[in-house]
Symmetry: C2
Subunit: 336 residues, 2 copies
């Protein structure tokens, strides 16, 4: 099925392409009323729509924002995307892309070639200087957040990751836990690294042994797969890199007959929507997921606002917050 083109309208009206184009763009001085009416009737009859992308090239104000996310399967990202969608103005369209780590740059080039006016990048970039040069050359403003590192090139929205890691460690240490384990992916993104550094640093400065580190994939399945190693570690408490991983760990422990929090305490990170509905409900360090999306969108819109001729580069740090629910309890020192 082929869309109705301006050629179809010209043929139907029995006039030239140029005539149709000028009549539809309100440059009607040169034409008779009869010609104008023939063109408008043909447009109506065929249901012809001027393409808004083409109009955009002629200066329409609709903005296209590309959003790069690691995935939509983790509710962290789908909630963030939903938040941007709910907060956008009616003259903004969001275009999302999830690219595998090795293809992120190709994904960004694709979005730029596709005509994006600006980008919001939540994925880790391997060569941020090269990317910045590319986007600067093509005059595409962008904002980075979450997994994307801060290289000082552009606006960034972050959660206070170090503080979040510290909150998790403090909570577990105050409950009497001394043998702690971190479950994390083999390759930490910059924000996750800060999260874990905060956790380890708090342990160190409170005379608690350096946490053991167990590596697994960053997903529910990855958390589940780490359970044998967690049991073998004789730890009384686990800090998972995110809630998805924590949920997998809790399920895996239950399948081995271990009870949370009686046998092991678990702290997650993110506070995705499901966390409060789990049984036991998940203790976690909350990120303001919806606010992150809202702020990122606001920053990119400001960058696209040509009436704001100059503004300082923004580095927004949003607070993290410990939400104590039911997966943490006083250390059961018999286990260790």
């Amino acid at each position: 099925m082929k869309k109705v083109s301006i050629k179809d309208v010209a043929k139907e009206a029995g006039v030239s392409l140029t005539t149709v184009s000028q009549v539809l763009n309100d440059k009607r001085d040169r034409f008779t009323t009869d010609t104008i009416e023939k063109v408008l009737a043909a447009k109506q009859k065929l249901g012809y729509l001027p393409n808004k992308n083409a109009q955009q090239l002629r200066g329409s104000k609709t903005k296209l924002i590309g959003v790069l996310l690691p995935n939509l399967a983790n509710p962290f990202f789908s909630t963030m995307m939903q938040s941007m969608d709910a907060n956008k103005e009616s003259d903004v369209d969001l275009f999302f892309l999830t690219a595998p780590e090795e293809d992120i740059e190709a994904g960004i080039m694709h979005l730029v070639e596709r005509g994006m006016d600006g980008l919001i990048i939540a994925q880790m970039i391997k060569n941020p200087e090269r990317l910045n040069n590319y986007l600067t050359t093509h005059r595409i403003p962008y904002v980075v957040l979450d997994q994307s590192d801060d290289h000082g090139f552009t606006d960034i929205v972050r959660t206070h990751e170090t503080g979040g890691g510290e909150l998790a460690a403090r909570h577990l240490i105050e409950l009497g836990h001394k043998q702690l384990t971190i479950v994390q992916p083999a390759h930490l993104t910059s924000n996750m690294n800060l999260r874990m550094e905060g956790f380890k640093h708090y342990c160190q400065s409170h005379n608690v042994a350096t946490p053991k580190v167990i590596e697994s994939t960053l997903s529910k399945a990855g958390g589940y797969a780490a359970v044998d190693d967690i049991i073998a570690s004789h730890s009384t408490a686990v800090f998972a890199t995110n809630d998805e991983m924590a949920i997998g760990i809790i399920r895996g422990l239950a399948d081995k007959g271990w009870q949370v929090p009686q046998d092991v305490s678990i702290v997650g990170f993110d506070d995705i929507d499901i966390a409060q509905y789990m049984t036991p409900a998940l203790t976690t360090v909350a990120q303001p997921i919806e606010t992150i999306g809202e702020v990122a969108l606001q920053l990119i819109m400001d960058k696209l606002d040509s009436t704001l001729t100059h503004r300082d580069q923004q580095s927004i740090v949003l607070p993290s917050e410990l939400i104590v629910r039911a997966t943490t309890a006083r250390a059961n020192l018999d286990n260790s």
Copy 2:
């Protein structure tokens, strides 16, 4: 920040717009090597990119597919979207939109005006005939699924909803449950109506009393809010319209000191990713979520394939499957 335009290139190279356009479109016969090199050097220096949307108007094969979803917060839809994204060819871009129920038609018109080549519609349409006329007039092929009703206008992908409802009822009745409750939204979409009709019909044909119906919003919070009514109903088993609702019900019952499945059995619908990780793990009727996304994408691509001159309208019904986990058990008739 303004993007580099073809005008900038022409100015930099000291040639006309037409010259730049023709050189960049490989119509170089008329020009000297010197002119061609000046244009290419200016393009390189400024980082000019021909806009792919503009190229599309000139016959490029990149396809834009618009996807209308009720929301991304329910993992059912984010997983489906992820599946389409993972299965699309490199020459396809997906554009997603979540519109409030009363604005769906405006959302669709917006996507059409934005230049979509085809649409995948997973939302309920109030006036399908008017929509079909609109899309047919504008020659935009579309495929409907999930919440969208079947009016015989176009290809449709469905799960066997009636069969799914029957599976849930059979499972509960075989476990000895005789006092059943359905928790559902006040306004059922067409597919959810079939789901509930299948459940009720199975009860009727097996001499089990008509299930009580409790209405609440279709979300975890809605399930949670229905708990007082569920307890008051003295039912031994509940069929929730979807997993999100079931998860909210289980959490709400736990907060009232009720045990699942000892006090009440719960069956969900969808088998979203989290279902198997819940404690107790959720018994549910699985929809093949990823396959639905994959098939819908295939159908719309077929419709856009101009080499397929005619094919019959497709109505694909995918099987639903009961997944028995740990939220259902033999009826405890003491409760009733």
